[in-house]
């Protein structure tokens, strides 16, 4: 049993499916999350390494403060790797040093250029659980505040999107309200 954000993920489930039990994470976001942490499609929750579990949990706690994933180099066709004498940590340290040196040069050039492009990665603007519920509540409150039709319908516990009310508005009568979440 793995616990992420207070949600219990059953051991035998596929990790990609288990992540969808988090509020705000659907199949596509779950696929992206698995890709980010190098979890393959058929990985079960019990096969996740402790490193992957902690990385997932810490990312989902605060997606905005997570470090961006660096672009690691990929071997060209005739690449011959070095013999395995250096450890992974040393190689990583070398890579990081090279990257920071490169970044310093780029930063100077970028100061003159146009602002950064917005990244297309949905994980950078990920909103889940309480944050997402708060956003929905704020949206409904905003609609009421500006006095719109949508706001009025929420307040009256009636369907918002033009459905019929002569019959069949049961779900709206039960669930629609101003403080929905």
């Amino acid at each position: 049993m793995v616990h992420i954000l207070g949600i219990n993920l059953p051991d035998n489930q596929l990790a990609r499916f288990a992540l969808t039990s988090i509020y705000g994470v659907g199949p596509h976001l779950s696929h992206r999350l698995c890709a980010r942490f190098q979890i393959h499609d058929r990985c079960r929750v019990k096969d996740l390494t402790p490193f992957q579990t902690t990385a997932l949990a810490s990312f989902l706690q605060s997606p905005k403060t997570a470090l961006p994933v660096p672009q690691y180099p990929l071997a060209p066709a005739n690449f011959v790797p070095r013999p395995p004498f250096k450890s992974t940590q040393e190689l990583q340290a070398e890579f990081n040093a090279a990257k920071t040196a490169q970044k310093q040069n780029r930063d100077e050039k970028l100061l003159q250029m146009a602002p950064e492009k917005k990244s297309r990665d949905p994980l950078t603007e990920l909103r889940i659980e309480s944050e997402l519920r708060r956003e929905i509540r704020e949206n409904i409150a905003h609609q009421r505040m500006i006095g719109s039709y949508v706001g009025r319908r929420h307040a009256m516990h009636l369907p918002v999107r033009g459905q019929r009310t002569q019959t069949n508005a049961k779900t709206a009568r039960k669930l629609n309200s101003l403080d929905r979440w």
Binding site: A35, D41, Y72, L74, A75, A77, F79, P81, P84, F85
Partner: protein, 465 residues
């Protein structure tokens, strides 16, 4: 009123007879210790009483329960096959033995058990009493090629077995593997190369090799290579020592010891596999065969793996497919040996790509022109591959042997005569898979009805005994 009074006595008298009947129908009862799945548990629930546990796996009975094989004592269910097929030997790979059925017997280093086989062949071997295959003219040709390849470097013998679906490519590859093992080669057989690219094994990025390593698959592969080739690997030793992750292997360690260490620990398995293959590429004592089924899967531009930025990982950026690609393209080579690949013609997820079709000069289903997209890197990895077309039909002699083999194994419901054989051979157009699965195993013909001559109007009594 008279009737009403008599009815209760009638029912009472009936009850006596009903209770006398033994309660025989017990198969719908729930297993002991568990609640009946069809009994309504909570009557208090409003609406439908959903007993969710009733349909869980534990409580479900189903229509029947399969019996333990040891309880099958009825004589009808005992095996009656009189199949005695000679076992496979390399000496049988001659022209005069074409059409003979041979069996792959269970040996201590059985490649079928340790390496595994493609799914279709597995199902067929489950049905037969012995694991048989027929020697075809292409088998003899391949055996000759492999014999001559034993003294040449592997980059000079790189064949890809091609042909339409069901023509016997995987079977031929297995025959080649068995042949090479019998000739004391070192054999590395990957029966389902699809599993290296369809995102079913762990992958981790490695900065040293700048590729995604597949440690669990490497561990499994090392274990399999060790189990099948242990005797050969024990005679070979490492030329250079290896120091990795606080483990060290001195220069005299046998390759068997190296492989065994790698097969126990996934952390070092990728490095050990790489070192093992490097050592095999340096020794020229024992020829090495690298046989890969599902060969076209590693030539697809995009695998099902995704990198952290969600773009598809290319096959040459994954450790195991990259290894296969390097040996298949001749960039790396064994001093003695061969590379054999067999494509799977009918897999929509991993079709045969344009680069492979160009190199092997296959017609393909759609016309290709210079304007079709091709990947330069994959073209480079496909350079020098030779096409070995597997004939798409059995010759009548081969088909007859296969028919007799299944007949002796009691697989035929129809009477075993020439008409049935020729009918099935024609219906399947000689295609091996169709001949066996739809022809022999799928035939609806049964035994002809036997009517005695003495009955009047026998044609009317046909079928009625």
């Amino acid at each position: 009123m008279a009737l009403a009074s008599s009815r209760p006595s009638f029912y009472r008298s009936l009850q006596g007879t009903l209770t006398g009947l033994p309660h025989t129908r017990g198969y719908a009862n729930s297993p002991p210790g568990q609640q009946s799945p069809f009994k309504i548990q909570n009557v208090k629930n409003s609406g439908t009483s959903k007993n969710k546990k009733a349909f869980s796996r534990k409580n479900r009975i189903g229509a029947f329960r399969s019996m333990n094989p040891s309880q099958l004592t009825d004589p009808v269910l005992q095996p009656h096959s009189n199949l005695s097929v000679p076992s496979f030997k390399p000496e049988l790979m001659t022209e005069d033995r074409i059409g003979q059925v041979v069996a792959f017997n269970q040996t201590p280093h059985d490649p079928i058990k340790y390496f595994g086989i493609p799914k279709n062949m597995l199902l067929e071997f489950r049905l037969l009493s012995q694991r048989c295959s027929v020697i075809r003219n292409i088998t003899v040709f391949t055996a000759e090629e492999l014999k001559s390849a034993a003294s040449k470097p592997s980059h000079k013998t790189r064949y890809v077995l091609t042909g339409p679906s069901g023509c016997g490519k995987s079977f031929l590859l297995l025959q080649a593997v068995q042949f090479c093992l019998a000739e004391e080669w070192i054999v590395i057989y990957i029966p389902r190369a699809k599993t290296t690219v369809n995102s079913t094994t762990t992958h981790t990025y490695d900065l040293r090799t700048q590729t995604y390593l597949q440690p669990n698959f490497a561990q499994q592969t090392l274990r399999r290579i060790l189990e099948v080739n242990s005797s050969n690997l024990q005679t070979l030793t490492m030329r250079e020592g290896l120091n990795y992750d606080r483990r060290s292997f001195s220069s005299g360690t046998t390759l068997a010891q190296l492989a065994s260490a790698g097969s126990k620990d996934p952390v070092i398995s990728s490095v050990v596999l790489e070192t093992l293959l490097n050592e095999l590429s340096r020794q020229s004592k024992i020829p090495v065969l690298l046989a890969v089924d599902d060969f076209q899967a590693i030539y697809n531009q995009k695998t099902l793996y995704r990198d952290p930025h969600f773009s598809a990982i290319r096959p040459y950026h994954l450790a195991i497919p990259r290894l296969i690609l390097e040996y298949a393209s001749g960039k790396r080579s064994f001093p003695k040996g061969a590379i054999l690949g067999a494509i799977t013609a009918a897999d929509p997820m991993f079709p045969v790509t344009t680069e492979l079709m160009d190199e092997l000069r296959l017609p393909g289903t759609h016309p290709r022109s210079a304007y079709n997209k091709r990947s330069k890197i994959l073209q480079e990895y496909a350079q020098g591959l030779m096409n070995l077309p597997v004939p798409e039909e059995f010759s009548p002699r081969e088909a007859a042997s296969v028919f007799e083999n299944w007949m002796r194994d009691n697989a035929l419901t129809a009477p075993a005569n020439d008409e049935v054989f020729l009918a099935k051979y024609t219906e399947s157009a000689g295609n091996p898979k169709a001949f066996v699965w739809q022809g022999i195993l799928g035939t609806l013909e049964g035994a002809a009805p036997i009517v005695s001559e003495n009955t009047p109007w026998p044609q009317l009594r046909e079928g009625r005994m």
